[in-house]
Protein backbone atom coordinates (compact mmCIF):
# COMPACT_ATOMS: atom_id res chain seq x y z
CA UNK A 1 0.00 0.00 0.00
CA UNK A 2 1.32 3.41 -0.90
CA UNK A 3 -0.12 6.83 -0.31
CA UNK A 4 -0.35 9.25 -3.18
CA UNK A 5 -1.34 12.87 -2.68
CA UNK A 6 -2.65 15.01 -5.50
CA UNK A 7 -2.33 18.77 -5.08
CA UNK A 8 -2.71 21.81 -7.29
CA UNK A 9 -4.88 24.82 -8.03
CA UNK A 10 -8.62 24.55 -8.22
CA UNK A 11 -10.15 23.50 -11.50
CA UNK A 12 -6.95 22.11 -12.97
CA UNK A 13 -8.62 18.71 -13.09
CA UNK A 14 -7.27 16.71 -10.16
CA UNK A 15 -10.53 14.90 -9.52
CA UNK A 16 -11.13 14.29 -13.22
CA UNK A 17 -7.73 12.72 -13.59
CA UNK A 18 -8.34 10.37 -10.68
CA UNK A 19 -11.80 9.53 -11.96
CA UNK A 20 -10.46 8.75 -15.42
CA UNK A 21 -7.92 6.39 -13.97
CA UNK A 22 -9.92 4.73 -11.21
CA UNK A 23 -13.34 4.61 -12.88
CA UNK A 24 -12.41 5.15 -16.51
CA UNK A 25 -14.93 7.95 -16.85
CA UNK A 26 -14.74 11.56 -17.82
CA UNK A 27 -17.67 13.44 -16.45
CA UNK A 28 -18.12 17.15 -17.02
CA UNK A 29 -20.77 16.82 -14.40
CA UNK A 30 -18.53 16.49 -11.38
CA UNK A 31 -18.36 18.63 -8.27
CA UNK A 32 -15.71 20.79 -6.71
CA UNK A 33 -13.80 18.81 -4.07
CA UNK A 34 -14.43 20.02 -0.56
CA UNK A 35 -11.78 19.07 1.97
CA UNK A 36 -10.23 15.76 0.98
CA UNK A 37 -11.33 12.53 -0.58
CA UNK A 38 -9.54 9.47 -1.82
CA UNK A 39 -9.77 6.47 -4.09
CA UNK A 40 -8.03 3.13 -3.82
CA UNK A 41 -6.70 1.44 -6.93
CA UNK A 42 -5.55 -2.14 -6.70
CA UNK A 43 -2.59 -3.40 -8.72
CA UNK A 44 -0.64 -6.54 -9.01
CA UNK A 45 3.04 -5.90 -9.53
CA UNK A 46 5.37 -8.85 -10.09
CA UNK A 47 2.60 -11.02 -8.74
CA UNK A 48 2.34 -9.04 -5.53
CA UNK A 49 -0.92 -7.24 -4.75
CA UNK A 50 -0.25 -3.55 -4.28
CA UNK A 51 -2.67 -0.73 -3.56
CA UNK A 52 -2.44 2.93 -4.31
CA UNK A 53 -4.37 5.15 -1.99
CA UNK A 54 -4.85 8.28 -4.05
CA UNK A 55 -5.80 11.35 -2.00
CA UNK A 56 -7.62 14.08 -3.80
CA UNK A 57 -7.49 17.53 -2.20
CA UNK A 58 -9.47 20.73 -2.55
CA UNK A 59 -7.78 23.37 -4.66
CA UNK A 60 -9.07 26.42 -2.85
CA UNK A 61 -6.38 28.14 -0.82
CA UNK A 62 -8.75 28.34 2.12
CA UNK A 63 -8.85 24.56 2.52
CA UNK A 64 -5.07 24.18 2.52
CA UNK A 65 -4.76 24.15 6.28
CA UNK A 66 -7.36 21.40 6.46
CA UNK A 67 -6.03 19.27 3.62
CA UNK A 68 -2.40 19.58 4.67
CA UNK A 69 -2.94 17.19 7.59
CA UNK A 70 -3.60 14.55 4.95
CA UNK A 71 -0.29 15.12 3.15
CA UNK A 72 1.55 13.23 5.89
CA UNK A 73 3.10 9.90 5.07
CA UNK A 74 2.86 10.32 1.31
CA UNK A 75 5.16 8.25 -0.87
CA UNK A 76 4.17 10.12 -3.98
CA UNK A 77 3.24 13.76 -4.43
CA UNK A 78 1.53 14.72 -7.66
CA UNK A 79 1.40 18.43 -8.35
CA UNK A 80 -1.09 19.13 -11.09
CA UNK A 81 -1.51 22.19 -13.31
CA UNK A 82 -3.58 23.19 -16.31
CA UNK A 83 -1.44 23.18 -19.47
CA UNK A 84 -3.57 26.07 -20.71
CA UNK A 85 -3.01 28.24 -17.64
CA UNK A 86 0.59 29.14 -16.88
CA UNK A 87 -0.32 30.63 -13.54
CA UNK A 88 -1.36 27.23 -12.27
CA UNK A 89 2.08 25.98 -13.27
CA UNK A 90 3.72 28.73 -11.24
CA UNK A 91 1.68 27.75 -8.22
CA UNK A 92 2.86 24.14 -8.31
CA UNK A 93 6.03 25.22 -6.49
CA UNK A 94 4.03 26.35 -3.46
CA UNK A 95 1.85 23.29 -3.53
CA UNK A 96 4.92 21.09 -3.54
CA UNK A 97 6.55 23.01 -0.71
CA UNK A 98 3.45 22.61 1.42
CA UNK A 99 3.21 18.92 0.71
CA UNK A 100 6.90 18.33 1.40
CA UNK A 101 6.68 20.19 4.68
CA UNK A 102 4.48 17.42 6.06
CA UNK A 103 6.86 14.66 5.03
CA UNK A 104 10.36 13.46 5.74
CA UNK A 105 12.85 15.02 3.36
CA UNK A 106 13.62 12.72 0.42
CA UNK A 107 10.89 10.29 1.34
CA UNK A 108 8.58 11.21 -1.55
CA UNK A 109 8.71 10.88 -5.30
CA UNK A 110 7.38 13.98 -6.98
CA UNK A 111 5.44 14.28 -10.22
CA UNK A 112 4.53 17.39 -12.11
CA UNK A 113 1.55 16.81 -14.29
CA UNK A 114 0.05 19.04 -16.95
CA UNK A 115 -3.65 18.43 -17.54
CA UNK A 116 -6.21 19.16 -20.25
CA UNK A 117 -3.79 18.34 -23.05
CA UNK A 118 -6.75 17.96 -25.42
CA UNK A 119 -7.56 21.67 -25.17
CA UNK A 120 -4.26 22.80 -26.70
CA UNK A 121 -2.76 22.63 -30.13
CA UNK A 122 0.42 20.62 -30.44
CA UNK A 123 2.54 23.75 -30.81
CA UNK A 124 1.04 25.40 -27.75
CA UNK A 125 1.44 22.23 -25.80
CA UNK A 126 5.09 21.94 -26.72
CA UNK A 127 5.79 25.48 -25.60
CA UNK A 128 4.19 24.92 -22.21
CA UNK A 129 5.95 21.61 -21.86
CA UNK A 130 9.30 23.39 -22.28
CA UNK A 131 8.43 25.62 -19.33
CA UNK A 132 7.08 22.73 -17.34
CA UNK A 133 10.28 20.75 -17.84
CA UNK A 134 12.24 23.59 -16.28
CA UNK A 135 9.95 23.57 -13.27
CA UNK A 136 10.16 19.81 -13.11
CA UNK A 137 13.94 19.74 -12.95
CA UNK A 138 13.90 22.46 -10.29
CA UNK A 139 11.37 20.54 -8.28
CA UNK A 140 13.21 17.29 -8.85
CA UNK A 141 10.03 15.96 -10.33
CA UNK A 142 9.10 13.82 -13.27
CA UNK A 143 6.94 15.63 -15.82
CA UNK A 144 3.94 14.20 -17.66
CA UNK A 145 1.27 15.79 -19.78
CA UNK A 146 -2.10 14.09 -19.91
CA UNK A 147 -5.73 14.49 -20.81
CA UNK A 148 -8.44 13.09 -18.59
CA UNK A 149 -10.95 13.78 -21.32
CA UNK A 150 -9.31 11.64 -23.98
CA UNK A 151 -7.51 9.45 -21.49
CA UNK A 152 -4.19 10.18 -23.18
CA UNK A 153 -1.24 9.01 -21.03
CA UNK A 154 -3.43 8.72 -17.94
CA UNK A 155 -3.01 4.99 -17.51
CA UNK A 156 0.69 5.06 -18.30
CA UNK A 157 1.16 7.85 -15.84
CA UNK A 158 -0.51 6.08 -12.94
CA UNK A 159 1.25 2.81 -13.80
CA UNK A 160 4.49 4.71 -13.56
CA UNK A 161 3.39 6.14 -10.21
CA UNK A 162 2.46 2.68 -9.01
CA UNK A 163 5.74 1.24 -10.24
CA UNK A 164 7.82 3.81 -8.43
CA UNK A 165 5.75 3.59 -5.28
CA UNK A 166 6.06 -0.18 -5.36
CA UNK A 167 9.81 -0.02 -5.73
CA UNK A 168 10.03 2.43 -2.89
CA UNK A 169 7.81 0.32 -0.63
CA UNK A 170 9.87 -2.76 -1.32
CA UNK A 171 13.05 -0.91 -0.43
CA UNK A 172 11.53 0.36 2.76
CA UNK A 173 10.32 -3.12 3.58
CA UNK A 174 13.81 -4.47 2.99
CA UNK A 175 15.34 -1.81 5.15
CA UNK A 176 12.87 -2.54 7.90
CA UNK A 177 13.53 -6.23 7.81
CA UNK A 178 17.24 -5.61 7.67
CA UNK A 179 16.90 -3.56 10.83
CA UNK A 180 14.75 -6.10 12.51
CA UNK A 181 17.19 -8.87 11.64
CA UNK A 182 20.09 -6.94 13.08
CA UNK A 183 18.14 -5.98 16.16
CA UNK A 184 16.18 -9.06 16.92
CA UNK A 185 18.21 -11.38 14.80
CA UNK A 186 15.29 -13.55 13.88
CA UNK A 187 12.88 -14.50 11.14
CA UNK A 188 11.82 -12.03 8.53
CA UNK A 189 9.23 -12.72 5.93
CA UNK A 190 11.26 -11.25 3.13
CA UNK A 191 14.37 -12.97 1.95
CA UNK A 192 17.29 -10.63 1.94
CA UNK A 193 19.67 -12.74 -0.09
CA UNK A 194 20.82 -11.09 -3.25
CA UNK A 195 19.97 -7.56 -2.18
CA UNK A 196 23.03 -5.52 -1.61
CA UNK A 197 22.61 -2.76 0.94
CA UNK A 198 24.79 -0.45 -1.17
CA UNK A 199 22.27 -0.47 -3.94
CA UNK A 200 19.57 0.56 -1.55
CA UNK A 201 21.53 3.52 -0.30
CA UNK A 202 22.67 4.74 -3.67
CA UNK A 203 19.31 4.44 -5.18
CA UNK A 204 16.99 5.70 -2.52
CA UNK A 205 15.53 8.46 -4.67
CA UNK A 206 13.83 6.83 -7.58
CA UNK A 207 15.69 7.34 -10.76
CA UNK A 208 13.39 9.33 -12.95
CA UNK A 209 15.08 8.37 -16.18
CA UNK A 210 14.82 4.67 -15.80
CA UNK A 211 11.73 3.91 -17.84
Amino acid sequence: MAKVVMVGDLYVGKTSLINRFCKNVFDRDYKATIGVDFEIERFEILGIPFNLQIWDTAGQEKFKCIASAYYRGAQVIITAFDLGDLQTLEHTRHWLQDALKENEPDSCSVFLIGTKKDTLSEAECERTEQDALKYASEMNAEFWSVSAKTGEHVKDFFFRVAGLAFEQSMKKELEKSRHSTTQIGAGSLIQLEGNSPEKRENDFRPNINCC
Binding site: L10, Y11, R28, D29, Y30, K31, A32, T33, I34, G35, V36, D37, F38, I40, Q53, A58, G59, Q60, K62, F63, C65, I66, A69, Y70
Partner: protein, 388 residues
Protein backbone atom coordinates in the same frame (compact mmCIF):
# COMPACT_ATOMS: atom_id res chain seq x y z
CA UNK B 1 -63.55 -1.52 6.18
CA UNK B 2 -61.04 1.20 6.51
CA UNK B 3 -58.65 1.46 3.59
CA UNK B 4 -55.08 2.52 4.32
CA UNK B 5 -55.70 4.10 7.68
CA UNK B 6 -52.04 5.19 7.76
CA UNK B 7 -52.43 7.16 4.57
CA UNK B 8 -55.58 8.83 5.78
CA UNK B 9 -53.87 9.65 9.02
CA UNK B 10 -50.92 11.24 7.26
CA UNK B 11 -53.24 13.10 4.87
CA UNK B 12 -55.06 14.46 7.83
CA UNK B 13 -51.87 15.46 9.59
CA UNK B 14 -50.64 17.15 6.44
CA UNK B 15 -53.83 19.13 6.00
CA UNK B 16 -53.82 20.13 9.62
CA UNK B 17 -50.20 21.21 9.33
CA UNK B 18 -50.92 23.27 6.23
CA UNK B 19 -53.74 24.98 8.10
CA UNK B 20 -51.53 25.61 11.13
CA UNK B 21 -48.83 27.14 8.97
CA UNK B 22 -51.30 29.39 7.18
CA UNK B 23 -52.74 30.48 10.49
CA UNK B 24 -49.31 31.27 11.91
CA UNK B 25 -48.43 33.21 8.77
CA UNK B 26 -51.62 35.24 8.80
CA UNK B 27 -51.04 36.53 12.31
CA UNK B 28 -49.64 39.99 12.66
CA UNK B 29 -46.80 39.72 13.45
CA UNK B 30 -46.47 36.17 12.15
CA UNK B 31 -46.25 33.49 14.78
CA UNK B 32 -42.62 32.61 14.20
CA UNK B 33 -42.38 30.12 17.04
CA UNK B 34 -45.13 28.02 15.50
CA UNK B 35 -43.42 28.29 12.12
CA UNK B 36 -40.23 27.03 13.72
CA UNK B 37 -42.02 24.04 15.15
CA UNK B 38 -43.58 23.32 11.79
CA UNK B 39 -40.20 23.46 10.09
CA UNK B 40 -38.72 21.02 12.59
CA UNK B 41 -41.58 18.55 12.93
CA UNK B 42 -42.24 15.66 10.56
CA UNK B 43 -42.18 16.56 6.88
CA UNK B 44 -40.89 20.07 7.51
CA UNK B 45 -42.55 22.84 5.56
CA UNK B 46 -44.11 20.46 3.03
CA UNK B 47 -43.98 22.58 -0.15
CA UNK B 48 -41.71 25.10 -1.80
CA UNK B 49 -44.59 27.52 -1.97
CA UNK B 50 -44.78 27.52 1.82
CA UNK B 51 -41.02 27.74 2.09
CA UNK B 52 -41.07 30.96 0.08
CA UNK B 53 -43.28 32.43 2.77
CA UNK B 54 -41.82 30.82 5.87
CA UNK B 55 -38.06 30.84 5.29
CA UNK B 56 -37.93 34.67 5.34
CA UNK B 57 -39.81 34.62 8.65
CA UNK B 58 -37.42 32.06 10.13
CA UNK B 59 -34.52 34.29 9.18
CA UNK B 60 -36.36 37.44 10.17
CA UNK B 61 -35.95 38.96 6.73
CA UNK B 62 -38.20 41.71 5.48
CA UNK B 63 -39.35 40.81 1.99
CA UNK B 64 -41.07 44.08 1.12
CA UNK B 65 -38.16 45.36 -0.89
CA UNK B 66 -36.43 42.80 -3.05
CA UNK B 67 -33.03 43.81 -4.39
CA UNK B 68 -32.89 44.68 -8.09
CA UNK B 69 -30.83 42.35 -10.27
CA UNK B 70 -27.21 43.52 -10.42
CA UNK B 71 -25.73 45.15 -13.50
CA UNK B 72 -22.82 43.68 -15.45
CA UNK B 73 -20.40 45.96 -13.55
CA UNK B 74 -20.67 43.59 -10.58
CA UNK B 75 -18.46 41.10 -12.39
CA UNK B 76 -15.83 43.58 -13.53
CA UNK B 77 -12.59 43.42 -11.56
CA UNK B 78 -14.27 41.21 -9.03
CA UNK B 79 -11.77 39.20 -7.03
CA UNK B 80 -14.22 36.35 -6.49
CA UNK B 81 -15.70 36.14 -9.97
CA UNK B 82 -13.23 33.63 -11.43
CA UNK B 83 -13.49 31.25 -8.52
CA UNK B 84 -17.28 31.46 -8.28
CA UNK B 85 -17.62 30.95 -12.03
CA UNK B 86 -15.48 27.81 -11.89
CA UNK B 87 -17.48 26.34 -9.04
CA UNK B 88 -20.88 27.23 -10.49
CA UNK B 89 -19.88 25.71 -13.82
CA UNK B 90 -19.27 22.49 -11.98
CA UNK B 91 -22.58 22.50 -10.13
CA UNK B 92 -24.70 20.90 -12.85
CA UNK B 93 -25.71 18.11 -10.56
CA UNK B 94 -27.43 20.48 -8.22
CA UNK B 95 -30.07 21.34 -10.82
CA UNK B 96 -33.07 19.10 -11.40
CA UNK B 97 -32.32 16.45 -14.00
CA UNK B 98 -34.22 17.13 -17.19
CA UNK B 99 -34.23 20.89 -16.73
CA UNK B 100 -33.95 22.55 -20.17
CA UNK B 101 -30.41 23.70 -20.90
CA UNK B 102 -31.41 27.33 -21.37
CA UNK B 103 -33.24 27.44 -18.07
CA UNK B 104 -30.34 25.87 -16.24
CA UNK B 105 -27.79 28.21 -17.74
CA UNK B 106 -30.01 31.10 -16.79
CA UNK B 107 -30.16 29.92 -13.20
CA UNK B 108 -26.40 29.41 -13.14
CA UNK B 109 -25.93 33.05 -14.17
CA UNK B 110 -28.31 34.09 -11.41
CA UNK B 111 -26.41 31.91 -8.97
CA UNK B 112 -23.17 33.71 -9.78
CA UNK B 113 -24.90 37.07 -9.36
CA UNK B 114 -26.41 36.22 -5.98
CA UNK B 115 -23.07 35.06 -4.61
CA UNK B 116 -21.21 38.10 -5.90
CA UNK B 117 -23.92 40.44 -4.67
CA UNK B 118 -23.83 39.08 -1.13
CA UNK B 119 -20.04 39.15 -1.08
CA UNK B 120 -20.06 42.74 -2.37
CA UNK B 121 -22.52 43.81 0.31
CA UNK B 122 -20.52 42.15 3.07
CA UNK B 123 -16.86 42.72 2.39
CA UNK B 124 -15.91 40.97 5.64
CA UNK B 125 -17.14 37.67 4.17
CA UNK B 126 -14.88 35.35 2.21
CA UNK B 127 -16.14 32.88 -0.34
CA UNK B 128 -15.51 29.18 0.18
CA UNK B 129 -16.03 26.23 -2.12
CA UNK B 130 -19.35 24.79 -1.02
CA UNK B 131 -20.99 28.15 -0.44
CA UNK B 132 -22.44 27.82 -3.92
CA UNK B 133 -24.07 24.56 -2.82
CA UNK B 134 -26.00 26.47 -0.18
CA UNK B 135 -26.93 29.36 -2.42
CA UNK B 136 -28.20 27.12 -5.22
CA UNK B 137 -30.64 25.51 -2.78
CA UNK B 138 -32.15 28.88 -1.96
CA UNK B 139 -32.19 29.90 -5.61
CA UNK B 140 -34.11 26.78 -6.62
CA UNK B 141 -36.64 27.08 -3.82
CA UNK B 142 -37.38 30.79 -3.55
CA UNK B 143 -35.99 32.30 -6.78
CA UNK B 144 -33.25 34.86 -7.34
CA UNK B 145 -34.30 38.12 -5.67
CA UNK B 146 -35.57 36.55 -2.45
CA UNK B 147 -32.64 34.12 -2.36
CA UNK B 148 -30.29 37.11 -2.34
CA UNK B 149 -31.94 38.49 0.78
CA UNK B 150 -32.06 35.17 2.60
CA UNK B 151 -28.50 34.21 1.75
CA UNK B 152 -27.32 37.65 2.82
CA UNK B 153 -28.81 37.10 6.27
CA UNK B 154 -27.67 33.51 6.51
CA UNK B 155 -24.12 34.42 5.52
CA UNK B 156 -23.75 36.99 8.26
CA UNK B 157 -25.21 34.61 10.85
CA UNK B 158 -25.38 30.82 10.49
CA UNK B 159 -22.59 30.61 7.90
CA UNK B 160 -20.48 33.40 9.33
CA UNK B 161 -17.73 31.15 10.67
CA UNK B 162 -17.22 29.37 7.38
CA UNK B 163 -16.73 32.74 5.70
CA UNK B 164 -13.68 33.82 7.64
CA UNK B 165 -10.46 34.23 5.69
CA UNK B 166 -9.28 30.96 7.26
CA UNK B 167 -11.06 27.74 8.15
CA UNK B 168 -9.94 27.85 11.79
CA UNK B 169 -13.40 28.48 13.20
CA UNK B 170 -14.85 25.84 10.94
CA UNK B 171 -12.35 23.36 12.30
CA UNK B 172 -13.38 24.41 15.77
CA UNK B 173 -17.02 23.68 15.02
CA UNK B 174 -16.03 20.27 13.67
CA UNK B 175 -14.46 19.67 17.07
CA UNK B 176 -17.97 19.39 18.52
CA UNK B 177 -18.53 16.19 16.57
CA UNK B 178 -16.47 13.70 18.54
CA UNK B 179 -17.65 14.82 22.01
CA UNK B 180 -21.27 14.30 20.92
CA UNK B 181 -20.44 10.83 19.63
CA UNK B 182 -18.55 10.04 22.82
CA UNK B 183 -21.49 10.97 25.02
CA UNK B 184 -23.86 8.72 23.11
CA UNK B 185 -21.65 5.82 22.10
CA UNK B 186 -18.24 5.62 23.78
CA UNK B 187 -17.37 2.39 21.98
CA UNK B 188 -17.84 3.95 18.58
CA UNK B 189 -15.99 7.04 19.74
CA UNK B 190 -13.00 5.01 20.91
CA UNK B 191 -12.92 3.08 17.67
CA UNK B 192 -12.87 6.29 15.67
CA UNK B 193 -10.19 7.76 17.91
CA UNK B 194 -8.03 4.69 17.47
CA UNK B 195 -8.50 4.89 13.72
CA UNK B 196 -7.47 8.56 13.93
CA UNK B 197 -10.11 9.32 11.36
CA UNK B 198 -10.44 12.99 12.30
CA UNK B 199 -13.54 14.96 11.35
CA UNK B 200 -12.80 16.18 7.85
CA UNK B 201 -15.20 13.62 6.40
CA UNK B 202 -17.94 15.85 7.81
CA UNK B 203 -16.50 19.12 6.50
CA UNK B 204 -18.57 19.28 3.33
CA UNK B 205 -21.68 18.21 5.26
CA UNK B 206 -21.28 21.10 7.65
CA UNK B 207 -20.36 23.92 5.31
CA UNK B 208 -22.94 23.05 2.65
CA UNK B 209 -25.67 21.94 5.07
CA UNK B 210 -25.46 18.58 3.29
CA UNK B 211 -26.32 20.18 -0.06
CA UNK B 212 -23.06 18.94 -1.54
CA UNK B 213 -23.51 15.30 -0.61
CA UNK B 214 -27.21 14.44 -0.85
CA UNK B 215 -28.41 13.76 -4.35
CA UNK B 216 -32.16 14.04 -3.72
CA UNK B 217 -33.12 17.69 -3.62
CA UNK B 218 -36.20 16.97 -1.47
CA UNK B 219 -33.98 15.68 1.30
CA UNK B 220 -31.80 18.75 1.07
CA UNK B 221 -34.68 21.21 1.44
CA UNK B 222 -36.17 19.15 4.25
CA UNK B 223 -32.90 19.54 6.12
CA UNK B 224 -32.80 23.25 5.33
CA UNK B 225 -36.24 23.63 6.95
CA UNK B 226 -34.81 22.00 10.03
CA UNK B 227 -31.54 23.93 10.13
CA UNK B 228 -33.18 27.30 9.45
CA UNK B 229 -35.45 26.76 12.44
CA UNK B 230 -32.66 25.71 14.80
CA UNK B 231 -29.44 26.76 16.44
CA UNK B 232 -26.54 27.27 13.98
CA UNK B 233 -24.71 24.29 15.46
CA UNK B 234 -27.55 21.89 14.63
CA UNK B 235 -25.82 20.65 11.42
CA UNK B 236 -23.00 19.27 13.54
CA UNK B 237 -25.50 17.40 15.74
CA UNK B 238 -27.07 16.04 12.60
CA UNK B 239 -23.65 14.94 11.37
CA UNK B 240 -23.10 13.13 14.67
CA UNK B 241 -26.46 11.42 14.34
CA UNK B 242 -25.52 10.12 10.90
CA UNK B 243 -22.27 8.68 12.20
CA UNK B 244 -24.09 7.12 15.17
CA UNK B 245 -26.70 5.70 12.83
CA UNK B 246 -23.92 3.95 10.90
CA UNK B 247 -22.33 2.46 13.99
CA UNK B 248 -22.36 -1.12 12.75
CA UNK B 249 -20.76 -0.33 9.41
CA UNK B 250 -18.09 1.76 11.08
CA UNK B 251 -17.20 -0.89 13.64
CA UNK B 252 -16.94 -3.50 10.88
CA UNK B 253 -14.47 -1.29 9.07
CA UNK B 254 -10.73 -1.76 9.39
CA UNK B 255 -9.67 0.41 12.31
CA UNK B 256 -7.53 2.70 10.22
CA UNK B 257 -7.88 6.28 9.08
CA UNK B 258 -8.33 5.86 5.35
CA UNK B 259 -10.94 3.10 5.55
CA UNK B 260 -13.08 4.86 8.13
CA UNK B 261 -12.77 8.21 6.38
CA UNK B 262 -13.76 6.63 3.10
CA UNK B 263 -16.76 4.85 4.59
CA UNK B 264 -18.06 7.89 6.41
CA UNK B 265 -17.53 10.37 3.61
CA UNK B 266 -19.73 8.27 1.31
CA UNK B 267 -23.09 9.23 2.74
CA UNK B 268 -25.90 6.68 2.17
CA UNK B 269 -28.74 8.18 0.16
CA UNK B 270 -31.51 6.25 1.92
CA UNK B 271 -31.12 7.66 5.42
CA UNK B 272 -34.28 7.78 7.57
CA UNK B 273 -34.27 11.56 7.60
CA UNK B 274 -37.27 12.20 9.85
CA UNK B 275 -35.98 9.84 12.53
CA UNK B 276 -32.51 11.32 12.33
CA UNK B 277 -33.86 14.86 12.54
CA UNK B 278 -35.76 14.15 15.71
CA UNK B 279 -32.72 12.32 17.10
CA UNK B 280 -30.51 15.32 16.36
CA UNK B 281 -32.98 17.51 18.20
CA UNK B 282 -32.90 15.03 21.06
CA UNK B 283 -29.12 15.17 21.29
CA UNK B 284 -29.13 18.94 21.10
CA UNK B 285 -31.33 19.06 24.17
CA UNK B 286 -29.46 16.41 26.10
CA UNK B 287 -26.05 17.84 25.31
CA UNK B 288 -26.41 21.51 24.44
CA UNK B 289 -23.44 23.29 22.85
CA UNK B 290 -22.61 25.04 26.11
CA UNK B 291 -21.91 21.64 27.68
CA UNK B 292 -19.80 20.48 24.81
CA UNK B 293 -17.80 23.62 24.34
CA UNK B 294 -15.22 22.72 26.94
CA UNK B 295 -14.42 19.42 25.29
CA UNK B 296 -14.42 20.99 21.87
CA UNK B 297 -12.15 23.75 23.07
CA UNK B 298 -9.63 21.25 24.36
CA UNK B 299 -8.85 20.50 20.77
CA UNK B 300 -8.86 24.10 19.74
CA UNK B 301 -8.68 27.55 21.21
CA UNK B 302 -12.09 28.93 21.92
CA UNK B 303 -12.77 31.64 19.45
CA UNK B 304 -15.65 33.58 18.07
CA UNK B 305 -17.88 30.94 16.54
CA UNK B 306 -21.44 30.37 15.47
CA UNK B 307 -22.47 30.24 19.09
CA UNK B 308 -21.54 33.83 19.67
CA UNK B 309 -22.84 35.01 16.33
CA UNK B 310 -26.06 33.27 17.27
CA UNK B 311 -26.37 35.61 20.24
CA UNK B 312 -26.04 38.50 17.84
CA UNK B 313 -28.71 36.95 15.75
CA UNK B 314 -31.03 36.76 18.73
CA UNK B 315 -30.43 40.39 19.43
CA UNK B 316 -30.90 41.32 15.82
CA UNK B 317 -34.11 39.32 15.67
CA UNK B 318 -35.66 41.44 18.33
CA UNK B 319 -34.25 44.78 17.31
CA UNK B 320 -34.48 44.62 13.57
CA UNK B 321 -38.06 43.54 13.27
CA UNK B 322 -39.47 45.86 10.67
CA UNK B 323 -42.51 46.63 12.76
CA UNK B 324 -40.64 47.13 16.04
CA UNK B 325 -40.39 50.87 15.70
CA UNK B 326 -44.01 51.24 14.79
CA UNK B 327 -45.04 49.10 17.69
CA UNK B 328 -42.93 51.07 20.09
CA UNK B 329 -44.58 54.25 18.89
CA UNK B 330 -47.95 52.64 19.20
CA UNK B 331 -47.16 51.53 22.72
CA UNK B 332 -46.14 55.04 23.71
CA UNK B 333 -49.42 56.46 22.59
CA UNK B 334 -51.48 53.55 23.81
CA UNK B 335 -54.42 54.37 26.02
CA UNK B 336 -54.74 52.78 29.48
CA UNK B 337 -57.64 50.51 28.55
CA UNK B 338 -55.64 49.25 25.60
CA UNK B 339 -52.74 48.51 27.84
CA UNK B 340 -54.98 46.59 30.19
CA UNK B 341 -56.31 44.58 27.29
CA UNK B 342 -52.79 43.78 26.16
CA UNK B 343 -51.93 42.46 29.58
CA UNK B 344 -54.97 40.27 29.48
CA UNK B 345 -54.05 38.79 26.15
CA UNK B 346 -50.65 37.65 27.33
CA UNK B 347 -51.61 34.54 29.31
CA UNK B 348 -53.91 33.42 26.53
CA UNK B 349 -51.06 33.52 24.01
CA UNK B 350 -48.79 31.58 26.29
CA UNK B 351 -51.42 28.95 26.79
CA UNK B 352 -51.83 28.64 23.05
CA UNK B 353 -48.12 28.20 22.62
CA UNK B 354 -48.11 25.56 25.32
CA UNK B 355 -50.94 23.69 23.70
CA UNK B 356 -49.22 23.76 20.35
CA UNK B 357 -46.00 22.53 21.90
CA UNK B 358 -47.86 19.67 23.52
CA UNK B 359 -49.26 18.71 20.16
CA UNK B 360 -45.77 18.52 18.87
CA UNK B 361 -44.59 16.55 21.88
CA UNK B 362 -47.10 13.86 21.09
CA UNK B 363 -46.02 13.80 17.48
CA UNK B 364 -42.29 13.87 17.93
CA UNK B 365 -41.43 12.77 21.41
CA UNK B 366 -40.33 14.77 24.37
CA UNK B 367 -37.01 15.76 22.87
CA UNK B 368 -38.52 17.87 20.16
CA UNK B 369 -40.28 19.87 22.78
CA UNK B 370 -37.03 21.07 24.18
CA UNK B 371 -35.60 21.88 20.75
CA UNK B 372 -38.58 24.05 20.16
CA UNK B 373 -38.10 25.56 23.57
CA UNK B 374 -34.57 26.52 22.70
CA UNK B 375 -35.88 28.10 19.53
CA UNK B 376 -38.69 29.73 21.49
CA UNK B 377 -36.16 31.27 23.80
CA UNK B 378 -35.31 33.71 21.12
CA UNK B 379 -38.41 33.75 19.00
CA UNK B 380 -40.99 35.10 21.45
CA UNK B 381 -38.97 38.04 22.60
CA UNK B 382 -40.84 40.34 20.34
CA UNK B 383 -44.10 38.86 21.55
CA UNK B 384 -43.27 39.94 25.04
CA UNK B 385 -42.69 43.39 23.74
CA UNK B 386 -45.94 43.39 21.88
CA UNK B 387 -47.77 42.57 25.08
CA UNK B 388 -45.81 44.55 27.62
Amino acid sequence: MKAEPGKHGSDFRRRRKLADIQKALSKDPPDVSTLRRMAISEGGLLTDEIRCQVWPKLLNVNTDELPPPPGPELRVNNKDYEQVLLDVRRSLRRFPPGMPLKEREDLQEQLIDIILQVLARNTQLHYYQGYHDIVVTFLLVVGGPLATLLVDKLSTHHLRDFMDPSMDNTKHILNYLMPIIELVNPVLHDFMQRAEVGTIFALSWLITWFGHVLSDFRHVVRLYDFFLACHPLMPIYFAAVIVLHREEEVLECECEMASVHHLLSQIPQDLPYETLISKAGDLFVQFPPSELSREAAQQHQSERTAVSTFKDFELASTQQRPDMVLRRRFRDSVRPEHAAKSVLTKPRTNKLVKLAVMGLTVALGAAALAVVKSALEWAPKFELQIFP
